[in-house]
């Protein structure tokens, strides 16, 4: 890497200085200070940790009660021209569900001031990047969770932002969509963009970046390399929920795996809760198991129980 490239990548893009935010009696963020550089940063924390609040402050949607946030050394709050450089993918679905995916993204690109012709081209390109071209002229209300996630990511990057703030973008996605999105994030990183991606699942973040921030109850607990967190995580069993109708068949097969500690049936929703102490090994084998057993899986998600244990460990 040349010196100029090194300088480019070591530059602080987002500077968060002593930021605190309360919602009445509830604390959202508690005296957070971070400098975020170019590349991908994973923001890891259990639900309710303050990840979304931090994102809303970074994107200028809410004002911190104390401290300030700067992007390219300019304050974010009320600086709407700076928001042109930001692409935001919210955690919760915020759609006009009667619109088609294409119209939804086209409209949002126009809100950035992109001309009609360019907006059409940018919309098409964004849809290609998230592999949603085929379904783009269907109404959003008919989309699966994974499709909705991909559309949310597409709307965040339609205007070619320099900074992407992605709140749980992989949540609820199937393995193919996950693969598509992770590739896309890495492609965007190679374009020199800054991405902050939140998740409550360590394995997801681990597949994207090794640079993480750990946040819990509004406080920044740790930042740095993922391996240090991984070492802590491995001390605790990891829970994975698999939604399937072929419960018995899959359970019989999984219990034979050396990486699986236990398998329990769940009724609502119907599926299996798998406990493993070697999640990497489990994830690398699960695709083959599904193919071999010919079972149908509609969802696979990691609960954050193990992450909670790590947070408790760090807090105590």
């Amino acid at each position: 890497m040349s010196n100029s490239s090194k300088e480019k990548y070591s530059e602080d893009i987002i500077t968060i200085t002593h930021v605190s935010k309360w919602y009445g009696q509830v604390i959202g963020l508690n005296d957070i200070s971070i400098n975020i550089k170019r590349g991908i940063t994973g923001l890891l924390g259990p639900n309710g940790a303050g990840k979304s609040t931090m994102f809303k402050i970074i994107t200028g949607q809410i004002k911190p009660m104390l401290g300030h946030v700067k992007i390219y050394n300019k304050p974010v709050w009320n600086n709407y021209l700076l928001w042109e450089k930001i692409g935001y993918c919210p955690e919760f679905d915020s759609f006009w569900s009667e619109l088609t995916g294409f119209k939804f993204i086209y409209f949002l690109s126009k809100l950035h001031g992109i001309s009609s012709d360019d907006a059409k081209k940018r919309t098409e390109q964004a849809l290609k990047l998230v592999d949603m071209v085929k379904d783009s002229h269907r109404k959003i209300k008919g989309y699966s969770k994974g499709m909705r996630q991909r559309i949310k990511v597409a709307q965040a990057l339609v205007h070619d932002p320099e900074i992407l703030i992605l709140d749980e973008p992989l949540s609820g996605t199937d393995p193919i969509a996950k693969f598509t999105l992770i590739n896309l994030f890495q492609q965007l990183e190679s374009e020199g963009k800054t991405l902050i991606i939140s998740s409550h699942v360590l394995e997801e973040v681990e597949r994207i970046t090794d640079n993480i921030l750990l946040i819990h109850k509004g406080r920044l607990l740790a930042e740095g390399r993922i391996q240090e967190i991984r070492d802590l995580i491995d001390k605790y069993p990891h829970n994975i929920f698999i939604k399937t109708v072929d419960v018995s068949k899959l359970a019989q097969r999984l219990i034979k795996e050396s990486s699986v500690l236990s398998v329990s049936k769940q009724d609502k929703p119907k599926g299996l809760m798998v406990q493993t102490h070697k999640p990497d090994q489990f994830y690398s084998k699960i695709a083959n198991i599904i193919l071999e057993e010919n079972v149908e899986i509609t969802q696979m998600s990691s609960t954050d129980d193990n992450l909670d244990a790590v947070f408790r460990y760090l807090v105590e």
Partner: protein
């Protein structure tokens, strides 16, 4: 299976100004609302029952009564969700994470509702005025100033659109539930009129509490060019009341938008 080029491409086009962003909100919102079947039904009914009779020689009083009723229903249906839906479904986030000021968002939404309400409140007055001037002028149907009459009709129509838009925006800003907002608009407009009319026998000035009566007073005064037939009422008071209501409504909307981050 289509295989697409998934190489990332930079955007090198030129960005357009605020006006384009505001009109984008207006266009998108208008199309979304107008596609609603209830909105279309109301619009068709309002035009066919409320407005066309005037061309067949219907009385202006009847025209105003019907217009007011349709406007009341229409504002409740289209105005209720105009802001509340964004709070309810969190789509406010999509707007406010774009390079838009809250003022741009407000203007986009306001203009949308204004245009929609004008479909019943103002646009028909243009046709009615054109009808009066074009067909009746020069005939001896009635002895009155057609131009003043038509002009007054259009100004009152515009004022009705303005006031109803403000009321719609205010109620929509006050709640996250668009059904409550629509109910609030309907209840406010309907019951203030009913109560005012019912109590006006006891105390005449209470008529000023009726939004509809205030428009009638204004129209009667302006169209008669000073020879007000509703002698007991002062059109300046009516105008002041409507303006005060509008200012209160717009203040409510603005306060809500300033506090929008606290509504999470």
């Amino acid at each position: 299976m289509g295989i697409y080029d998934q190489t990332y491409r930079r955007f090198e086009g030129k960005l357009q100004g605020r006006l384009v962003r505001i009109t984008t909100i207006l266009k998108n919102e208008f199309m979304r609302r107008i596609r609603n079947k209830w909105v279309l039904i109301l619009l068709i009914l309002a035009w066919s029952i409320g407005i066309f009779p005037i061309f067949t020689g219907g009385a202006f009083m009847a025209y105003f009564v019907l217009t007011f009723i349709w406007l009341l229903l229409f504002t409740a249906v289209v105005g209720g969700p105009i802001l509340s839906e964004d709070f309810q479904f969190n789509s406010i986030t999509l707007y406010l994470s774009r390079p838009l000021r809250k003022l741009d968002y407000f203007l986009g939404k306001y203009l949308t509702l204004f245009v929609l309400v004008s479909l019943i409140g103002f646009i028909p007055t243009i046709f009615v005025s054109a009808f009066i001037i074009g067909i009746l002028y020069g005939t001896s149907v009635r002895e009155f100033d057609y131009y003043t009459f038509s002009y007054s009709l259009m100004v009152v129509g515009l004022l009705m659109t303005f006031v109803f838009t403000n009321i719609g925006m205010a109620f929509s800003a006050m709640t996250k539930n668009h059904k409550y907002a629509s109910g609030g608009i309907f209840a406010f407009l309907f019951f203030t009129n009913i109560l005012s009319l019912a109590l006006s026998n006891l105390y005449e000035d209470i008529m000023y509490c009726s939004i509809w009566a205030n428009f009638m007073i204004l129209f009667a005064d302006w169209s008669s060019a000073g020879n007000n037939t509703l002698v007991d009422f002062d059109s300046n008071v009516s105008l002041a009341i409507l303006m005060i209501i509008s200012i209160i409504c717009l203040t409510i909307v603005w306060i809500k938008l300033q506090r929008v981050e606290l509504s999470e």
